[in-house]
């Protein structure tokens, strides 16, 4: 896939919101995985009607590649300003690829309580899963070469942009 063939992030976000609208519980909590997922969670809470409290999760302490990569330089604080016990939670990430970040996020979530239900929403599902994890809602599904990473960024005005990078370690 060529970089200029990537879909527009804002249009994809609206498509994701359309899929979730009416399908997610009225009081579902939106939990974004740092950093891209956090931006999307905030936007979705504005776009989708309902009582959607927003939380953020940093999965650094739960990753399965700590022994190989160590701790990343800037770990953010997980903030879940609501009871996880018994809640309906939509985990939100920018790109769903191997599924390993989502696995880490689910583990972390359960250290806060036992949710009634956890769903997954992603802006981009690029395939390539290494774990039995699927998104209930995806803005777009793309086939992407293994040597490319899809990267979400946010500009000064808060506009979301999709780009690609050669994938490193």
């Amino acid at each position: 896939m060529l970089p200029d063939a990537l879909p527009d992030a804002e249009a994809t976000l609206r498509a994701l919101a359309d899929r979730m609208r009416g399908a997610v519980a009225f009081d579902a909590k939106f939990v974004g995985i740092y950093s891209g997922g956090a931006w999307i969670a905030e936007r979705l809470a504005q776009l989708i009607e309902g009582n959607h409290a927003v939380g953020f999760i940093d999965v650094s302490f739960y990753r399965d590649d700590f022994s190989r990569k160590g701790l990343k330089p800037e770990v953010k604080r997980t903030e879940l300003p609501f009871e996880v016990e018994g809640a309906t939670i939509v985990l939100i990430d920018d790109v769903l690829y191997t599924g390993r970040s989502v696995r880490a996020a689910v583990n972390e979530l359960f250290d806060y309580g036992r949710p009634a239900r956890v769903e997954l929403a992603v802006l981009v599902d690029r395939g390539g899963r290494e774990l039995p994890i699927e998104a209930a809602y995806a803005g777009v599904r793309l086939a992407v070469a293994r040597n490319l990473s899809i990267v979400l960024s946010r500009n000064g005005e808060g506009k979301l942009l999709l780009g690609t990078e050669a994938s490193g370690a």
Partner: protein
Amino acid sequence: MRNPQLNAAGDLTHLLTLEGLPPEIILRVLDTAVPFASIAEREVKKVPLLRGRSVFNLFFENSTRTRTTFEIAAKRLSADVINLNIGVSSTSKGETLLDTVDNLVAMNADMFVVRHSQSGAPHLIAAHLNRMGRTHVHVVNAGDGRHAHPTQGLLDLFTIRHYKKDFRELTVAIVGDVLHSRVARSLIHGLTTLGTPEVRVIGPKTLIPSAVQSLGVHVHHDMREGLAGCDVVVMLRLQSERMRGALLPSTGEYFKHYGLTGEKLALAKPDAIVMHPGPMNRGVEIESAVADGDRSVILPQVTFGIAVRMAVMSILAGA
């Protein structure tokens, strides 16, 4: 020669002293401790980061508090913790320090937390591991002689930053037995590295090392003068064993001149915080009313100490 605390990639692999550590590394520890501090507020106070790793607490010198906080920190990271009270084990049978270490490495130790009455002992262990190519085994200095106590220095820095934000605007006073204090030495190195413009040490001439000015601090022998306008007051424990050396006339006399009272604290800024590394001698270096007062952050220091040690251990283990 390379700083023995850093690996070939420049990452922190042992924590031996704050002296000579670049500010980025110190700030990274302080930043990483913030998310660890919030884990203590959860119901499950544990993360799986060091699952399957073994942390050995090697305490050649007694310390209940430091050993306990290291143990809690390692357990909250899901590591297995083995406490060795070396004073009563192998070394009393004549085994050398490095032989003890080699044996524990053969038992698959991943990290050593070392306290020793001899300055330089943790450094000796780290250098030995580096020389043997044991790059996956890490050393944390939990206090060596009069030299350094870097995790205490870091938790003091974390506490100051938590209440006061910007080091570059602060006046910090360290009061008491600076001569024998590895806590003071580590804190001074940390504060100056992070750009604290004014660090003062306050104490009697007999307890202030003559070379301390070379560390960039201002020396005061009059406590009232030294406390004027301070943002942070760090009280040091008066080590009663030092009294024998005739360095001081009496604890009563000491309290009169260098004990922190409400009346003396009033000379510092109105929002100044009071710190103490513990254990405290009430009525010797600090008045009970101040230790328990609303400016005291002595107990938060203990809580933050766990988060800071979690940050140190996870950064080292990931190097």
